[in-house]
Symmetry: C2
Subunit: 393 residues, 2 copies
């Protein structure tokens, strides 16, 4: 059979991360590649107890079909949580549950993007957001981004010259892949620019709760007076990713359209996953759990930075994130990180080359380091090896 695939298939390509992750399933590999949480911190006993209670108390509902919007008590919890930590003003009806926040990206593309529309993003940006949006035939314009966020003047200029700008996609807290966070000013400025030009902002925030030091900043949404900002969130990094529960929060009229496209996409999220997370939040203190995660990741961040400082040759620079899962490494411009990866894989060390994080290509001399997934001794061992390889280049 000679399949006639949709045109979009010609410009989609397999995620480099997920391909590398397949290699890294070998237990002997020291992997800085995925964005995987530390599995030893998953609250397994609590989840066992919560599953038991949900099934015993209300098993028939927990296993049956449910609404597309998602379990109302859980949506209410999310609204309250965002209001207290992110400076938003949501209620349950602002929230749609999604299969991880990845689905919220896909649905955003479906709700807003026509072929030929433009998405503005940080440079670099989250690789799987690129794939999600690209399926709807959009173009990307990378907005010049410094250590404080997108540069407002550059953003305005692009909006005024680029055609059909529909979405500004940002990750203001401990960005994937760089680990950088936006300053308060830049958040406020972005909200102002988006409102002025009536452009939808997708504010992705999977890592915001994982701050190791410094003060949490309010969301871009908190400065939004017109309803143009949508917030994405997830339980993947503060609870566990296996349950695939994330959300999108925003203007109710637009959320009704998200509900509509989710109906066609998969009807609803896993029912029992919603109930299990809700029951967990009722029975246990998630703040305590997040504190544990933060403490462990902070140590791993510290040892990662310290080891890179000691082991990486001069001319190699990297970010020192105040939270999240990732640091970003920049090599002298003549070195291609894909070549470095090839060499590292021979020594059973993996990471993700940075090129894929630039939707229009570029900066092959960069790579992303994940520090959340491995114990400290393996981090040190892996980074020493990586340092040795780098010295050869």
């Amino acid at each position: 059979m000679d399949f006639k695939f949709a045109n979009r298939m010609s410009y989609l390509k397999a995620s480099e991360i997920r391909e590398i992750l397949k290699v890294t399933e070998r237990p002997d590999i020291i992997s800085f590649a995925g964005g995987l949480p530390a599995p030893e911190l998953f609250p397994i006993d609590e989840i066992m107890e919560v599953n038991r209670q949900v099934l015993a108390e209300d098993g028939t509902s927990a296993l049956q079909y449910t609404t597309t919007e998602g379990y109302a008590p859980l949506r209410k919890w999310i609204a309250n949580r965002m209001n207290s930590t992110r400076g938003t003003d949501f209620d349950a009806d602002n929230i749609l549950l999604t299969n991880g926040s990845q689905q919220a990206l896909d649905l955003s593309g479906k709700v807003f993007l026509d072929e030929g529309d433009t998405v503005l993003c940080e440079s670099p940006t989250y690789l799987a957001a690129i794939s999600a949006f690209k399926a709807y035939g959009c173009r990307f314009e990378e907005v010049p981004t410094d250590d404080y966020g997108m540069i407002p003047e550059a953003l305005e200029q692009i909006i005024e010259t680029a055609e059909r700008v529909k979405i500004i996609y940002i990750i203001p807290d401990f960005q994937n892949p760089t680990g950088k966070s936006w300053t308060l000013d830049r958040r406020e400025q972005l909200a102002g620019i988006a409102a002025k030009h009536q452009i939808v902002v997708i504010e992705d925030n999977p890592y915001g709760e994982l701050r190791f030091e410094g003060e949490a900043l309010p969301s871009v949404k908190s400065f939004d007076k017109t309803g143009c900002v949508f917030c994405l969130g997830t339980f993947s990094k503060i609870f566990c990713p296996g349950y695939r529960i994330g959300w999108i929060a925003g203007d109710k009229k637009a959320i009704a359209n998200y509900v509509l496209v989710k109906q066609g996409a998969d009807l609803q999220c896993n029912t029992i996953a919603q109930r299990v997370i809700d029951k967990y939040l009722e029975l246990y203190d998630i703040n305590k759990h997040i504190d544990i995660i933060r403490a462990v990741y902070k140590k791993r961040r510290d040892i990662t930075i310290k080891t890179m400082e000691h082991e990486f040759p001069p001319g190699v620079t990297f970010t020192k994130p105040q939270g999240g899962l990732f640091a970003w490494v920049e090599l002298p411009s003549h070195i291609n990180a894909r070549d470095v990866l090839e060499e590292c894989l021979k020594n059973n060390v993996a990471f993700v080359p940075g090129g894929s994080f630039f939707p229009n290509g570029g900066k092959e001399n960069t790579f992303r380091i994940n520090f959340s997934n491995m114990p400290e001794d393996r981090i040190v061992e892996g980074l020493k090896c990586l340092g040795e390889v780098l010295k050869k280049f």
Copy 2:
């Protein structure tokens, strides 16, 4: 904010079923509306035990990210099951796990459909398949369908005259909404026509295992010599829908494209859901469980048909399905089922009017009756009431 939604939002509309389902959440409503399985048959105790074992034995993996393709042992089980019950020849790599088979419909649209392409379907057809495909801007041509399946001559004629036919979508076993099944001849003929014209067939089969009498027929796929047929399946009707695990099975090269679009859509299915179902299949006998479901639904089908025969006025006809969840009612042509519904809702009885099952509109004098979800006494009570209302029209 004056949102500029994507063009597709102008032709998507809320599923009538899901809107009616919201009304039917009131416990006093006797609902023939949803396609809900009987919740009292969910194997809750077994699921509790299975959850406990999965979490105790391998909790960290079960709660972590996993591959987009899905848990290999479960995909292998599905391949073997289909090979033994559906006459197919699959292995694990032919299978991608999806969030219910609804997601397999959405991904099919994403992989194959460009704006303006044509999807051929039975007349009537599954309502949520219409929404899933429509999001990709396709047109529908309804192929004349009788009690034995699509009429081959009519199908060929449409293929030869319609433009850009990309997909033939069919539900050959206990169809939603009519409950009808295709004969062996028609299955073979369809496979031949699709192969000859090189058109993709999406063979949806959520109900095939729920046969009450007569002999199971091989799938259309079993007659496929070119790889053009894709099979959709789900655990929703033989286990429980809350876990949202379905699948698509087909040509490996095409499945690789499905994997690619699923990466962008939501990365992967719920990890623990995959593990729980796999463990259930290991520890318990799903055939025994399916036998229980069949026996209960058969009784409900029997009482549904018997009560309609007694209570519905002359001139009202209906199907007598040999399996599945639905019967299909046809009223004299001057009666609009939406008016009947309005009257019935006043008496706390609900069903789904048939008009929405015709993608290009039509046949408002039809409706769908679900018989799987309610105990027999409520079925009788509801149908008696429905009969009274019908007599008034």
